[in-house]
């Protein structure tokens, strides 16, 4: 196992390359989820505001 991790002494390079790539891809996925959630939040808020206005609430 440790032999596999060390990659013949070049582990830092190999895992450095794969590691950051993984982080970046996961980061993109996380960012996509967050974007989706904020858009949903904003839209449902707008709907709430609109229905309230249609009902004629002053506030």
């Amino acid at each position: 196992m440790s032999e596999f991790l060390s990659q013949g002494g070049y582990g830092a390079y190999v895992w450095g390359a794969y590691g950051l790539t993984l982080i970046l891809l996961l980061g993109e996925v996380w960012q996509l989820r967050r974007q989706r959630r904020t858009i949903f939040a904003r839209l449902s808020r707008m709907i709430r505001l609109r229905t309230r206005r249609e009902r004629g609430d002053p506030a």
Partner: protein, 248 residues
Amino acid sequence: MKLFRFSSPATFYPLAGKLIPLFWVLTALALVIGLYWGFFETPDRLGGTNPQKEYYRIIFIHVPAAWMSMWLYLMLAVWSAIGLVFNTRLSFMMAQATAPTGALFTFVALYTGSFWGHPSWGTWWDWDPRLTSELILFFLYVGYLALHSAIDDPRRGDKASALLAIVGLVMLPLIFWSINCPDPNQCAALHQRSGLSQMEGNILFAMLTMTFGLWMYSFAATLTRLRSLILEREGDSAWARELLERER
């Protein structure tokens, strides 16, 4: 006619929603197989004219990322062109959804190449034509994203950055060529690319599998982003409100 039906955001939104899980599954499968093959079914050393040690395994992420970066730029420009010619909102959104993922892969290619270059060439960076062109490609992606986000009116932003993407596509061959061949007097001798034909079968298989995986990843990511963009832009329309009511 059918094509036009799917070019409407309202019909495309649910369709994309059904496709995305499929792409995620394919991504995971391909990446697992590719990585397993790359790390366990390949030799630790490469001999030949260009001996390499274990660090050559960076190839399984480096080369697919570099390919995807170029492929996605092409897609970006094509969607932009379709948008400008037919004035379809969906193609602009498609272009906009493609750009961040493309920029990401460009960065990954640069970064992993750098991590390969240090053990192999003894330097993190060199002004090698291939490297430089990839850097310029990165700048083009960043320019597209910056222009789009600098314009408040989304429709003007769509069109302006679409035009930029097309101008970039026209200029790209010129730029690449000028970097590859800065000296037209001796151009023929300069360019040499170690062909894939010399590559061992296992390495090639792992690399192609990884490429397929990243490709599927690109589909999944861009479609997810596209769905968000559609909601953001069309959130006020009747179908989107209906959909929101249902999902709540």
